[in-house]
Symmetry: C2
């Protein structure tokens, strides 16, 4: 007899905290780092096929600068800069909360690399929290693409809370992980690798 599947409510979901980071398109990479240059792998990130680069850029807004913001490779079709609201306040910018790739009407941002400074017209966002599932993980937990769930985080800690309206995304490129930014992680007192649970 096969072992019964764990329900969605009993499956521990690892947290992945996204620090501020930058995805460049090939043209913007060429402008900032030089044509023919390749990004160098610094370390893997949990989502298959993606990795953090040795290369970093500086971000600048009307109120301040943030230096040494890490690039994530491989390059994307459009440049996308993901920061926390705390970072946005420091820069003096008001980017919207958005899902990845949803950049229409997002904020402008100035990016500086070793070869120059780029004024991106739109591409600055604050990431919308979500859970990644592989198809088999989603099936085992009875999760549908686009489903909205609530997630209990920081259980037993000093700042336990429930994130409501969390989007579930399923792809063969994904592996089970609850993606939040540093503000959300700090508010719940959780870190990468901690476990959270879908709430009934």
């Amino acid at each position: 007899m096969s072992e019964p599947l764990k329900s969605r409510y009993e499956t521990p979901i690892p947290v992945g905290v996204s620090n501020r980071h930058v995805h460049l398109c090939q043209a913007d990479w060429n402008f900032l780092f030089g044509e023919g240059i390749q990004p160098r792998k610094f370390r893997s990130v949990k989502q298959p096929g993606f990795w953090a680069c040795y290369e970093t850029v500086n971000l600048e807004g009307p109120k301040g600068k943030i230096e040494n913001v890490r690039l994530i490779a491989p390059h994307r079709k459009k440049t996308q800069v993901e920061i926390a609201k705390t970072d946005a306040s420091q820069l003096g910018l008001r980017p919207p909360v958005r899902g990845s790739g949803d950049l229409g009407g997002s904020s402008p941002i100035k990016i500086t690399g070793p070869k120059g400074t780029l004024e991106v017209k739109e591409g600055l966002v604050i990431a919308s929290r979500h859970i990644h599932f592989s198809p088999s993980e989603a099936e085992a937990m009875g999760i549908q693409e686009g489903e909205i769930v609530s997630v209990r985080a920081g259980i037993g800690g000093p700042r336990e809370l429930v994130f409501t309206n969390v989007l579930c995304r399923i792809s063969t490129d994904f592996s089970l992980e609850f993606h939040i930014d540093t503000d959300e992680a700090n508010a719940a007192w959780v870190k990468t690798g901690d476990y959270v649970y879908i709430q009934k």
Copy 2:
């Protein structure tokens, strides 16, 4: 006939977001700013009798500095520095989450003012979220001192969430306000003056 009281669940509670700030004891003030000098009022804060000062200090930890951190007056019996977890990461320090005044075993912190630098042995904390009530507000809402409630924040926004385990504190010195820090405010996408509700 008197108007029926609103229940605790229907009463809008204004949010007060605490940015990083410092309460000094008189001796530490004297050391950093000089004996006989008085702090100057910059603006009132919502809790009766307290005000933000023109005077600021710099904080320093093993990994970095944060400049121009505002003082809150009047002075306290013990120096207490309240920062967000994001600030703590920048400083390279790991203060605990604590209620106000509960400083035993809290983190050391280096504070610089115009007259010198002070190495405080303990006093650095991350504030534990809580609701302040005046006695009449608590009575109208049926709240007991020390009661624990859940608070729904950011309703209708992009980051609605439920803060569980929120402590209720009642005092004649208090006025109705839900106190959170900048990480928590950014995680829920709320700001000072927004309203939250106690959840059933």
